[in-house]
């Protein structure tokens, strides 16, 4: 899922400085699961913003809503009936949701309340870690199910750099070396010979460097 975390409250306050009537929109999708933008966070952030503004002596009215998903057009309609009564929307969905809202409600300024960080997993309750950089060219079949693009700080494709020591990464000694993990996993699987297969230079055209990507399924299109 998409993992995000709340922006510092002072940054948000700065963004909405000039408004006194806003919508705070959460999302019941990924950001609920990673506790960044669900209904609970909507309540807490709204309360915090009101407190801050009360402290500044500047009134603010906040309409609290949680949309089913901000990345599907139908769900964005949930706020259509009252959106014009408000000066701005603060969305705590992922970057996709924020943009989609902005596209849908062109007249209303949209602000992001969270930073969208990565595609990842719940490592344990309260801990999320990155697993995928959506490069569009999956190589997990070659690397024992561990992504070198994501897990190696340098996204190396053919083994570790010279900075791998004691299984840790030189970029951040607290991070496990991606290639050490790949090696260990392959060894466990009895497939160490995979290590010798040279992975060719990556084709980054499928990745984000080539501009916004698009997938069309003709069979599904209406």
């Amino acid at each position: 899922m998409v993992i995000g975390e709340g922006k510092p409250i002072k940054d948000i306050l700065f963004m909405i400085e000039n408004y006194s009537k806003i919508i705070l929109a959460g999302c019941r999708g990924c950001v609920t699961v990673c506790s960044a933008g669900g209904e609970k966070e909507v309540g807490i952030l709204a309360s915090a913003l009101r407190l801050a503004r009360q402290n500044e002596g500047k009134e603010i009215e906040i309409k609290e809503v949680s949309l089913e998903r901000q990345c599907d057009p139908e769900y964005l309609e949930e706020i259509r009936s009252f959106v014009d009564e408000y000066e701005a929307i603060l969305s705590i969905a992922c970057g996709a949701g924020v943009q989609f809202l902005a596209e849908t409600y062109k007249k209303t300024p949209i602000y992001p309340g969270i930073n969208t960080n990565f595609i990842g997993v719940t490592q344990e309750q309260g801990v999320w870690t990155e697993r995928c950089q959506s490069c569009g060219n999956c190589k997990l079949h070659l690397t024992g199910g561990i992504c070198p693009i994501t897990r190696c700080a340098k996204s190396l494709l053919n083994g570790p750099c010279g900075g791998s020591s004691d299984g840790k990464c030189e970029v951040n000694p607290e991070t496990d070396c991606g290639w050490q993990m790949i090696y260990d996993r392959l060894k466990e699987l009895g497939k160490l010979d995979q290590m010798e297969v040279i992975i060719p230079i990556n084709d980054w055209t499928t990745s984000r460097d080539g501009g916004p990507r698009k997938i069309v399924r003709e069979d599904l299109k209406l």
Binding site: I44, L51, K63
Partner: protein, 118 residues
């Protein structure tokens, strides 16, 4: 025991401090509290096993938010005490009252009142 404590202490009862929501803490300040404290069981003695340990973490989180919005995290505290410790309850009530008196009224009360909607 009927030990006396300051009248400004008002209690909102929860089944366990594990039910404490960061939102309740913030809302209390929004509604006009000058200080809030959570009184939980002694650590290790939670009737529901770990509620008071979870509560302490949430209180810490809420303190951080209160710092960020300029209310001040020192207006929020968590104390552990057992039902048998009447004098401890009074001691905490006095300690917290003193602390809040020193800090003065909540900064938002010195400003204009603000409307919110949900």
């Amino acid at each position: 025991m009927r030990l006396s404590y300051p009248t400004n202490i008002k209690i909102i009862k929860l089944p366990c401090t594990g039910k404490i929501d960061v939102l309740y803490l913030l809302k209390a300040f929004e509604n006009g509290a000058d200080g809030v404290y959570v009184a939980g069981c002694m650590e290790g003695d939670c009737h529901y096993l770990t509620g008071n340990l979870r509560a302490r973490k949430r209180v810490e989180y809420a303190k951080k938010i209160l710092d960020e919005v300029g209310i001040g995290g020192e207006r929020l505290a968590m104390y552990n005490m057992s039902a048998a410790q009447g004098p401890r309850f009074v001691e905490v009530a006095n300690e917290m009252t003193e602390r809040i008196k020193e800090l003065g009224p909540s900064p938002i009360k010195r400003k204009s009142t603000v409307k919110g909607s949900k």
